[in-house]
């Protein structure tokens, strides 16, 4: 009786999982929210202070004033600016996740006009690769996956539509407040809008995939829907508000001013919402997919999304100690107390998602803008101004530059929540353009570079590495990925003993790889891709011999190096070394490097004489080996 066992495991296990343990080191709270608790820094209104006055030729914009001021306070100065080749490689990876082409590098190096860098930035922000790179960041935060995560890990055929919607929204610079509202209530907003084009209507529905991709649990998913709602609330609160609301499921939050009644006020909103059903061990087939056309519209073949729609509206009862079978008092659906506690309008017949979407994106909500600009900052600089990007609560860290954070949040709102405006501000700062060099005395004062005396070096992400190698070898498919080649729905019978498992080969960008919940994609897992089960604010980068084995021995690296060699076969050897260096590393080789490369090719070809490789193929084989040495070296793997 595997199902029963799982159920008992789940019901008891999850109860235990969320009960409080002895957590040391912080004040434990509970009960009514006190005025002191409301003094939490992140709940204070955003203050738009004038940047500090500084005397500096180095500074380019207001960001630099804040940064320099904090550096000088600690007896430091910026270490100097990065050279142009470093800079174009850095900004190209940071904005589109791919390396610059040799032509782009040379054009930028040769361009002495004051707008040279700005022009590069504008070109990158117009590229459709921008959304593929930055959309992935949001997908990390909302723990996107292509499977449901219950015992059989059922594939979710239409999840990709939400993924692509995110990418398109970034490319279109959709205002962030609208971006959030559509994910929470796209269906309700579409139903009220006049004159929405059929395409926009469909996109509004697809956006609610944010809700539907919540993790599913157990043998019969519907029995554990309360856990799925918890997962929605956890992810929603961390991603949009930077709060760990999940704790309030079983008891008043122990550290942050959020109580169990707040939790169940929001819970009711999602309990009044229907989620598309992905299929499960018990019920093998999906249902409740959402039509992409308005009711009553003329339709032939109806397209669907994996999304959310309103169900029976009702207020939730508190689950005592998180136990969904032990129900307490009913809590009216409303906003969090700390965000105003707004109630639904009287006679409201909807779930409340429409109002929730407004509450969470109001400009007087101090969290939403701060949390998002901090995420943008984090991905540009490796760490946020608040390093606990998902936790702006009492247990999270304080911002290193609180006034800069608020200044950025103010600009964000002022720009109409334009993410591209924020990128422009950030990357055009002198701070972003700092060199990443050593300075031992500063390393003593600020070992983690929290005050940005230099630019922090970073390793390429899993996606960047794979995409770059494919791109450089000419193998990258530049089109947008679509539906995954899952087995036909009528064959589905996945169970906990034989769960769904798939890895599909594709040469599209890595954001389009099929990502499973129960089994990670092997390549993405090896190189620290995001965990599709929990909101990932920042990826932890590891260095392992198993990664090194991949770099040395995987078919991927070998095949692409060979493809590079084949497409360059007509070049003379010195030209080939030159062009490979420029393409892969973004700089020309030194004369020593050319000599070393030529010696390598010669010796390698000679030693191939001992192998079974035919004579005419030896030179190509040596070339591919040389390309591999470029694909594996630190200069390629890291961005200065």
């Amino acid at each position: 009786m595997p199902c029963q066992r799982t159920q008992s495991l789940l019901s008891v296990g999850f109860l235990i999982l969320t009960l409080a343990g002895n957590v040391s080191g912080a004040e434990i709270r509970g009960g009514p929210i006190t005025p002191e608790e409301r003094q939490l820094w992140s709940l204070q209104p955003i203050e738009d202070k004038t940047p500090p006055h500084i005397e500096s030729k180095w500074a380019r914009n207001a960001i630099d004033a804040f940064i320099l001021d904090a550096l000088e306070e600690r007896g430091m100065q910026p270490v100097g600016s990065a050279d142009k080749r470093t800079l174009i490689r850095r900004v190209t990876y940071d904005l589109i996740g791919l390396p610059p082409t040799p032509d782009e590098v040379e054009a930028f190096v040769a361009d002495d006009t004051p707008s040279a860098f700005k022009n590069v930035v504008e070109r990158l922000l117009r590229s459709s690769h921008y959304g593929e790179h930055w959309g992935r960041h949001w997908l990390d935060v909302v723990r996107y996956a292509d499977t449901a995560g219950e015992t059989g890990d059922y594939p979710v055929r239409f999840a990709y539509k939400y993924r692509n919607w995110v990418i398109n929204a970034y490319n279109a610079d959709m205002p962030y407040d609208e971006f959030v509202r559509l994910q929470l209530a796209g269906d309700l907003i579409a139903a009220r809008a006049n004159q929405l084009s059929p395409e926009d209507y469909a996109n509004h529905i697809v956006a609610t995939g944010f809700i539907a991709i919540s993790r599913r649990f157990g043998f019969d998913v519907e029995n554990y829907h309360y856990l799925t709602i918890q997962d929605t609330l956890d992810t929603l609160s961390q991603s949009v508000l930077g709060l760990t609301l999940g704790c309030a499921r079983c008891h008043d939050h122990k550290y942050d001013p959020v109580n169990a009644d707040d939790y169940y006020a929001l819970y009711g909103i999602f309990e009044s919402t229907k989620y598309s059903f992905p299929g499960s061990e018990e019920k093998k087939r999906p249902y409740d997919m959402v039509p992409l056309t308005p009711p009553g519209a003329e339709q032939t073949a109806i397209d669907h999304a994996y999304g959310a729609f309103d169900g029976e509206p009702k207020d939730a009862r508190i689950h005592k100690r998180g136990d969904h079978k032990s129900l307490g008092e009913t809590v009216a659906r409303r906003n969090l107390t700390i965000l105003g506690g707004d109630r639904l309008p009287e006679h409201e017949t909807g779930s409340g998602r429409l109002q929730l979407a407004e509450w969470f994106t109001r400009t007087d909500n101090p969290l939403t803008a701060r949390v998002m600009v901090n995420r943008l900052w984090q991905k540009h600089f490796g760490q946020g101004l608040v390093r606990t990007e998902n936790d702006f609560g009492a247990r999270g860290e304080r911002p290193t530059h609180p006034e800069l954070l608020d200044w950025l949040a103010s600009r964000f709102i002022e720009s109409g929540w334009s993410m591209k405006t924020m990128h422009r501000l950030i990357v055009n700062s002198a701070t972003y353009q700092l060199a990443s060099i050593e300075k031992p005395d500063y390393a003593e004062i600020d070992p983690e570079d929290r005050f940005l005396w230099r630019f922090p070096r970073r390793r390429l992400s899993a996606e960047e590495y794979r995409d770059s190698v494919l791109y450089l070898s000419g193998q990258l498919a530049l089109d947008m990925g679509g539906e995954h080649p899952f087995p036909a729905e009528d064959t589905w019978g996945f169970t906990q003993h034989a769960p769904y498992y798939g890895v599909y080969k594709t040469n599209t960008r890595s954001v389009y790889l099929m990502q499973q919940r129960l089994k990670r994609h092997p390549f993405l897992a090896l190189f620290d891709g995001a965990d599709p089960n929990v909101s990932t604010a920042e990826r932890l980068i590891t260095t392992t011999p198993t990664q090194a084995l991949y770099l040395m021995n995987s078919p991927f690296v070998h095949d692409n190096a060979m493809a590079f060699a084949v497409k360059s076969a007509r070049l003379t050897k010195p030209d080939l070394i030159n062009s490979a260096h420029t393409a892969i590393l973004g700089r020309k080789p030194t004369s020593e490097e050319i000599d070393a490369g030529l010696t390598f090719l010669k010796v390698y070809t000679e030693r191939l004489a001992d192998s079974e490789v035919a004579q005419e193929a030896r030179s190509r084989e040596a070339l591919a080996a040389y390309i591999r040495t470029l694909f594996v070296r630190n200069e390629f793997l890291f961005v200065d």
Partner: protein, 467 residues
């Protein structure tokens, strides 16, 4: 130790490819010759003081093994079956909670000369109990799997910190430069996933490398370049480029770790297949671990691989029996312990015997633990399961530096709380480090402006159990 592979490489490289290839991958040799190589973070280091244990085999049972049904015999719990009691700590919450004592589902028998009581779930381990030092007074800080798994591995229950294996790799380096100092043999990820063998802020080369059962224990282990000399040419060029790249970037441990990882991976290609190849093990040896040549699977396979890694000088070998599901977390029914015990009992006893017969037991410390115990009581009188219990549980140590055949610490009459000699996880860690010759207060790493240790600001060595 220079392997023949490296020697060949040295000769081959200096003959054909000149100085370029010499620099990087042979940094260790270069260093020995007094040139300016970087300091190899995995070079073997002497412990602070003389110690018997050179390496650890850490046996981790995922999910929370019932202490009152393994190594903590509680006659009163048998006698007081179904008796209502009031407990003041329920899963970390204080209050008055009515609960029913439930007798162990399995009987206990004395084992060996020491007569230490071991449950009938573990007849094979009972057979080697004279070699074990059983601790019946373990304490951890949290009632959740995630937190307590993290706590047992990283000494931190909230945030990920360097795991114990990575601290030991950092403290002692590797005795075999062709293998990582820290290897984890695990069919699945435990709670908290790869953080349990992560290095966090310690240099990345100290994190655990995972071996899985099955056809492909380590992905991409097989050289794809056509011959060894050809691959060495490639690695030589890469190593040289990496060393040039490192100039002006010396403080970046990630770069250095990457360089080191290539060297280790190169060595692993030759050494790991030998370690994983059981064809030279006798049938008698396989039988000790409860496996057969046709079906070398389960924890028996893991234990045998563990012994072979120990022979190769791997410093910290962790064997994790299950993952974050289908494990010892028997909320539903304690009978689930049966198949889990069967999976590990004979292999662990076999491992101890095998280490002894090969003379490895003298300098190997074997640790058996789990994240917490299970409640001796239940909320519902007739419920056949047990919940998480972090106030007291059992572990054992064996081998180098340990008093064999003793019991240390005790729980109260029902196995609810500690009665004497509490061994908190921090104390457990301090003791393990001590046995390896490391002072837990002095093994520190400067990070974020302060010196971090595995034991934070806690930890006392359990002196009574030291030989």
């Amino acid at each position: 130790m220079i392997t023949s592979n490296r020697r060949q490489f040295l000769q081959g490289a200096s003959g054909g490819f000149g100085a370029i290839a010499l620099n990087g991958i042979l940094s260790k040799l270069a260093q020995a010759e007094g040139s300016q190589g970087f300091v190899d973070p995995l070079a073997p280091r002497k412990p602070r003081f003389q110690a018997k244990a050179k390496r650890i085999i850490f046996l981790y049972m995922t999910g929370g093994v019932s202490h009152v049904e393994s190594f903590d015999h509680k006659p009163r719990l048998f006698a007081d079956d179904r008796k209502a009691i009031t407990v003041d700590n329920w899963q970390g919450k204080s209050g008055d909670f009515k609960r029913y004592l439930r007798r162990p589902k399995w009987g206990f028998q004395p084992g060996g000369q020491s007569g230490t009581m071991v449950s009938d779930l573990f007849p094979h381990m009972r057979h080697v109990v004279d070699d074990l030092c059983v601790i019946r007074s373990m304490v951890t800080d949290h009632t959740n799997h995630y937190e307590s798994t993290l706590g047992m591995h990283c000494g931190s229950w909230t945030f990920a910190r360097p795991s114990i294996g990575s601290w030991i790799s950092y403290g002692l380096g590797s005795e075999n430069e062709n293998l990582p100092a820290f290897m984890v043999v695990a069919p699945n990820e435990p709670y908290a996933g790869a953080q349990t063998w992560g290095s966090d802020f310690l240099p990345g080369c100290h994190q655990g490398t995972r071996i899985r059962p099955g056809k492909n224990p380590i992905e991409n282990l097989q050289r794809r370049s056509l011959t060894d000399p050809l691959q060495q040419l490639e690695l030589g060029l890469i190593a040289d480029a990496n060393r040039r790249h490192l100039v002006g970037r010396e403080s970046d441990t990630a770069l250095e770790a990457r360089i080191k990882s290539l060297e280790t991976a190169f060595g692993m290609q030759a050494v790991a297949p030998e370690v994983l190849d059981l064809s030279k093990e006798s049938d008698a040896t396989l039988a000790m671990y409860g496996i057969t040549r046709d079906n070398p699977t389960g924890f028996g396979w893991q234990c045998l691989i563990g012994r072979r890694l120990a022979e190769q000088g791997v410093r910290f070998i962790e064997l994790i029996d299950t993952g974050s599901s289908n494990n010892w977390d028997s909320h539903g029914n304690m009978k689930d312990h049966v198949k889990l015990a069967k999976n590990v009992d004979q292999p662990i006893a076999g491992l101890i015997k095998d280490l002894k017969q090969r003379g490895l037991f003298e300098d190997t410390l074997v640790v058996w633990t789990t994240e917490f115990g299970r409640t001796p009581y239940h909320e519902n009188l007739d419920h056949p399961g047990r919940e998480h219990h972090h106030q007291v549980f059992s572990s054992w140590l064996a081998g180098a530096g340990i008093k064999p055949g003793i019991v240390h610490g005790a729980s109260d009459e029902h196995g609810i709380g500690v009665a004497e000699d509490p061994v908190h996880v921090h104390d457990f860690h301090a003791t393990i480090l001590h046995l390896l010759g490391l002072d837990h207060e002095k093994l520190t790493f400067r990070h974020a402006g302060r010196d971090y240790r595995l034991t934070d600001v806690h930890g006392n060595v359990a002196e009574k159990i030291l030989a």
